[in-house]
Symmetry: C2
Subunit: 235 residues, 2 copies
DNA sequence: TTTATTTAATAGTATTACTATCATTTTAAA
DNA sequence: TTTAAAATGATAGTAATACTATTAAATAAA
C-alpha cells in the first residue's frame, strides 16, 4: 500500500495472481479496467463479453485476453480492487481513533457509503464499481473452482478486509464467540440489503429511496452491537 | 399446498410462471428435475448445459427446452422448490407451538439442517438440492433481469418464506425496527456461512467439519435473539 | 380407430469463449 | 540513435453454448 502522492491519488497494489499482465502498468490495461466497469455496470456480468468490451474500447479481443485469462478473473480483479480501496479507507479513517466501538461504527459508515466516490482513492468510477460489487461480487467465489481459486490467493483482499474488522470486534468484546461469522455476515448483509432495497423491497425495511443508506447503517449497527453486547454472546 | 397422501409424500405445487410446461406432470419432466439436480450438483451451474443434461438422461436438448426456457429458469424452479419445501416443513413443525421464541428457534433449526433429507417431503435428492441452493441460489436473482423476473412472480416462494418468518419475529418483538432485514439476513447467512465453513473458513467460526451445523445454529440464534432483545432495537 | 399430443432425431444458426499467427507500432536497452 | 524487445492490432479459426425449426415416430385421449 503506497501513500497518496502529491500529484495523484493513492495507487492500489493488487496481487499479481489476479492478472496475466498488470492492467495498471499500461494505458490499454487502465482503459480495460475503466471501460469494463462501465460495460459490466450497464449490461451485467452474464451479458458481458471481451468482444463487446473490445468493440467499445476500439481494441481487439486478443489484446484484452493478454491481461486476463477470462471474464471471471477480471471480475475477481475488480472486486478485489474494491475491497482493497475499502480497506485503505478504513485504515485512513480509523487509525487515530482509540475507541473500538467508535472504530466499528466508522467501518459500518464506510461500508454503507461505499457507493459514493471517495476523493482520496478515485481514479475509477467507484460508484459504478460498487454497483457491480453489490450485484456480482458473490459470483467471484460461488463457483466450483472456489477451492483452487482460494488456494491461488484470489480472495486475499476480501479475507484481509474481514480480518481487519474482526480485530475491532474482538477488541470490543473478546468473549464474543462468533467474530468471524459476524463480520462476514455484516459485509455480506451490507451488499445484499442494498440490493434488496433496490429490487426486492419486501425483503428489507428500506424507507424512501433516498434514506436507504441511513436505514442500512442503523440496521447493521443495531445488529452488530446487539450481538456484541448480549449477555448470552459470551461463552 | 396439498397434504401428504397415504401412499406418497406431499406434492409441492409451484407457480406455473416458473416453467413452460409443468415438469411434475410427466415422466420426462420429473426425470429432468431429478437428473438436473444431480448434474448441477456435480459440475456447478456455470458448466451445466441442457445438452449435457440431455446426454445424461438419454433424451434430447429440444425436448428439455419444452419445459424450461433456459437454464436460469430451471435454477429458479429448483430453488423455488426448495423454498416451498422449507416453508412446508416450517409450518408442519411449528403449527402447534404457541411460544413465538420457540417457533423461531425451530425455524433456525430447520434452516441449519436443510441439508438433511426430510422424510416427509423427499421425492428429490434434497441434500444435493440444498448444496445447489447454497452455491447457486443467489444467482437466481443477482441478474440484470431481477425486476422483470420479480414482476413475473419468480421469487414468490422466497418472499413468502421470508414473510412467514417475519410474522414470528414481529410476535417476539413488535417494536423491533428491522424485521424484514433481520429475516432476510438470517436466511442469507444460513447459506453463506455454510459455504464459508466449507470453502473459505477464515470468514467464519466453524469448528471441526462435523459440528458445522450446531455452530451455525448457535450463531444465528445468538444473532437473532440479541437483535430482538436489545434495548436499542425498539424505535 | 382416428386424432391430438408428446417426444426423438436431426439439423442449423448466432454467439461465446477462447487460441494462433503474423504484421505493425511503441517502448526500452545498448 | 540504432536495435531489439515488447505490446498491440488485424485476421482467422475452433469448439462449445444457447438456442430454434422441422419432421417423424411413439403414446395417449376421444
Amino acid at each position: 500500500m503506497i501513500f497518496p502522492s502529491s500529484t495523484t491519488s493513492l495507487r492500489i497494489e493488487l496481487s499479481d495472481k489476479l492478472f496475466l499482465r498488470d492492467p495498471q502498468a499500461t494505458d490499454l490495461g487502465r482503459r480495460l479496467v475503466g471501460e469494463s466497469i462501465g460495460l459490466i455496470d450497464q449490461i451485467g456480468f452474464e451479458h458481458f463479453t471481451f468482444k463487446k468490451l473490445a468493440q467499445r474500447m476500439e481494441s481487439t479481443e486478443a489484446s484484452l485476453y493478454r491481461y486476463f485469462e477470462n471474464k471471471h478473473r477480471l471480475l475477481v480483479y475488480l472486486v478485489s480492487w474494491h475491497w482493497a480501496a475499502l480497506r485503505y479507507q478504513i485504515r485512513f479513517h480509523t487509525h487515530n481513533v482509540a475507541d473500538a466501538p467508535e472504530r466499528l461504527r466508522l467501518v459500518l459508515r464506510i461500508l454503507t457509503q461505499a457507493h459514493h466516490d471517495d476523493p482520496t482513492t478515485t481514479q475509477l468510477d467507484e460508484a459504478a464499481l460498487y454497483r457491480i460489487v453489490v450485484s456480482e461480487a458473490s459470483k467471484a467465489y460461488l463457483t466450483k473452482e472456489v477451492d483452487s481459486d482460494n488456494q491461488a490467493g484470489l480472495f486475499r483482499e476480501y479475507k484481509q478486509l474481514a480480518a481487519d474488522i474482526v480485530l475491532i470486534v474482538q477488541e470490543i468484546n473478546p468473549q464474543y464467540a462468533y467474530p468471524h461469522a459476524l463480520v462476514s455476515t455484516l459485509l455480506e448483509a451490507a451488499r445484499k440489503q442494498l440490493f434488496f432495497a433496490q429490487h426486492l423491497p419486501s425483503l428489507t425495511d428500506a424507507p424512501a429511496a433516498t434514506a436507504i443508506e441511513q436505514a442500512l447503517y442503523a440496521f447493521l449497527e443495531n445488529l452488530a452491537f446487539a450481538a456484541l453486547m448480549a449477555g448470552s454472546a459470551a461463552r
